[in-house]
């Protein structure tokens, strides 16, 4: 006997969803909605991330404590949402995040192991999980919706689209930030998408193909 066989008898039809913003950071360059808005002009990841933080005058002391994965994801979300997102339009429980990357938290895992040769660092240790970046973005913005972090070989736009469609079509979320945040040593790339149900002038229809196109061109 399946005790839940009648629990969800109503199927929800797909609703229209739009990419109402995108932001990428790679090689020190920030692209927002297909326009290059800043070039940090440096290749070292730590210098680059700090230069972005200063350029956008983001006063958030906790930034200094974060590992590079959280810094990268947090900065990308800050710039993605700036002037593009009305937080007050949503209940905190209706905004969520679906992120993925290839290297999990390996960047800080390695730093932590190196620190353990001397005295294992508690401040590095607390970042040795990839989904901490979701926590940092959620705490900053007060988001309390569903979230998940997936580890996959490369950006799988079909997979991400399936996850986001499920959450928005079933009204579990009304808005979702999704995409890719990956760091390993000096290699890094992030691309985040803001997905909503309302259509704006600049909206791009939300689809795996459109995410893939934006991801590949940044």
């Amino acid at each position: 006997m399946n005790i839940f066989e009648h629990a969800n008898s109503e199927l929800n039809l797909p609703t229209d969803k739009y990419i109402n913003g995108s932001c990428s950071i790679a090689k020190g360059v920030i692209t927002k909605d297909a326009n290059i808005i800043y070039d940090s002009d440096c290749y070292d990841i730590s210098e680059s991330l700090f230069s972005i933080y200063q350029h956008f005058e983001l006063a958030y002391p906790k930034f200094y404590k974060m590992d590079n994965l959280s810094k990268l994801g947090w900065l990308t979300a800050e710039i993605l949402l700036k002037n593009s997102f009305e937080k007050k339009d949503y209940q905190p429980e209706r905004v969520g995040l679906i992120l993925a990357n290839a290297n999990s938290s390996l960047d800080v895992d390695l730093r932590y192991i190196e620190s353990a040769n001397d005295i294992a660092s508690p401040s590095l240790f607390v970042y040795t999980l990839p989904n901490i970046v979701i926590g940092e973005i959620s705490i900053r913005n007060g988001f309390k919706g569903e979230h998940a972090f997936f580890v996959q070989e490369s950006f799988d736009s079909d997979f991400i689209a399936r996850q986001v469609n499920y959450l928005l079509d079933n009204d579990i979320l009304q808005a979702c930030i999704c995409g890719w945040v990956d760091v390993l040593r000096q290699d890094y790339k992030s691309t985040l998408f803001l997905v909503e149900k309302n259509k704006k002038e600049s909206s791009v229809l939300f689809s795996a193909e459109n995410m893939r196109h934006i991801f590949d061109n940044n």
Partner: protein, 406 residues
């Protein structure tokens, strides 16, 4: 479209108890150890670690071989599953529910380490030579594997799920089990959790610098950290329909529960104890009780400077100036992580049923800035109607449960 009528069960009762920890292998042995004020910590004897003779832990005093023999599980299986089965089986037997096979029964079990103990065995060989290492050691690595192994042994097939929210895991399992019954999805739920000691958790907590090298001193001004423990604890939750057919009186009911989050730090509580305050306040609201109705608080009380001052602040915000008796039974069992909510739920139920209050061992000095302190001696013949049990986890995940006399 099919419309189903949901008959809500108004009350969720506790019909059975099962527990294993460093101070005993069943409920009766725990009551004896509490009466004798006998803590379970000691030198590491079973876990294979470089921290032997350096960090005290609270080990269950049975080897994997002995546990396997007790449970009928294979010797090579994770200690987490072995501990889980001992306590879950005791709870289900204790409940003695007539005609169980005709009821909708679920197993909601929590843990935080899963089969990590066996994965650690695998890696010893694998890291030396990556063509070596026995894959059967990693087969049950996932937390959910523990639940499936135990459910199969208990004969539960209809519903099972695993929760893992760090140190509030099994309190959340009880909370979730109660909601499954309240919403008429199940009639009986065995809810709680288990965790075994592993290198992973011992080294992790050691890195965070929150392990006491002596026996822990919860809520003491001079507390220096926690001692890790292991074990399992389960309660059998039943609906009001099932309680009528029991051959005995239920122990008590679960009258309140709440989960709230600090959203403050990965591993620390906010100094104001926001998450714990909201959890306690929410559980009181759910139960319809006032702070003055609570007769005993089973504190989370890990013994770390951060937890105890945050929890103390939250307790003060709710109960000041009239504080109920309170204590941390982690001074007996150590901190059993994902099992602690289940183990301490059993203790909370026993406090009501046996009219007892547990001492907070080794307490000497009241914390600065607080007008209260925990109970120091084992107390009998206490008139206890409502017990609050706190379980707060990493990630700010805070849960309070309230148990009430029927």
């Amino acid at each position: 479209m099919i419309i189903i009528k949901r008959r809500m069960s108004s009350t969720v009762y506790i019909a059975g108890l099962g527990v294993i920890s460093a101070i005993g292998n069943n409920v009766a042995e725990h009551l004896t150890a509490f009466g004798q004020e006998k803590a379970g910590m000691g030198d590491i004897t079973l876990l294979n670690t470089i921290h032997r003779n350096e960090l005290p832990v609270a080990e269950v005093k049975l080897s994997n071989n002995e546990l396997a023999e007790m449970t009928g599980l294979p010797v090579g299986i994770s200690r987490t599953a072995l501990l889980s089965l001992v306590a879950a089986k005791e709870a289900l037997t204790d409940a003695g529910i007539p005609d169980l096979s005709n009821l909708r029964t679920g197993f909601v079990s929590a843990n935080s380490v899963g089969g990590m103990d066996k994965s650690e065995d695998f890696f010893v060989d694998f890291l030396a030579d990556n063509s070596k290492g026995k894959l059967r050691h990693v087969y049950d690595h996932e937390c959910g594997s523990m639940t499936e192994i135990v459910a199969e042994k208990l004969g539960i097939t209809q519903f099972m799920t695993t929760l893992s929210t760090a140190c509030s895991s099994s309190a959340n399992a009880i909370f979730y089990g109660a909601r499954l019954i309240k919403n008429n999805l199940l009639d009986v739920v065995i809810a709680g959790g288990a965790d075994s000691l592993t290198k992973f958790t011992l080294n992790g907590f050691n890195t965070l610098m929150i392990l006491d090298k002596e026996f822990c001193k919860p809520f003491d001004e001079h507390r220096e950290g926690l001692n890790l423990g292991e074990g399992a604890g389960y309660v059998v939750l039943v609906s009001d329909k099932v309680v009528k057919n029991l051959n005995k009186q239920p122990y008590c009911k679960l009258s309140g529960y709440n989960n709230s989050n600090d959203a403050y730090h990965q591993t620390a509580s906010s100094p104001e104890g926001t998450g714990s305050y909201l959890a306690m306040k929410g559980a009181l609201a759910k139960s319809g009780l006032q702070p003055a109705d609570i007769d005993y608080i089973n504190l989370h009380g890990t013994g770390t400077p951060n937890n105890d001052s945050a929890e103390g602040t939250a307790v003060k915000r709710i109960f000041d100036p009239e504080y109920p008796p309170m204590s941390s039974t982690k001074s007996f069992t150590g901190h059993t992580l994902g099992a602690s909510g289940g183990i301490e739920a059993v203790f909370s139920v026993l406090a009501i049923n046996n009219k007892i209050i547990y001492p907070n061992l080794r307490f000497k000095t009241r914390m600065n800035g607080f007008d209260f302190e925990p109970v120091k001696r084992f107390l009998k013949d206490q008139d206890i109607n409502h017990v609050m049990s706190n379980s707060f986890g990493f990630g700010g995940n805070c849960t309070s449960l309230i148990f009430s006399r029927v």
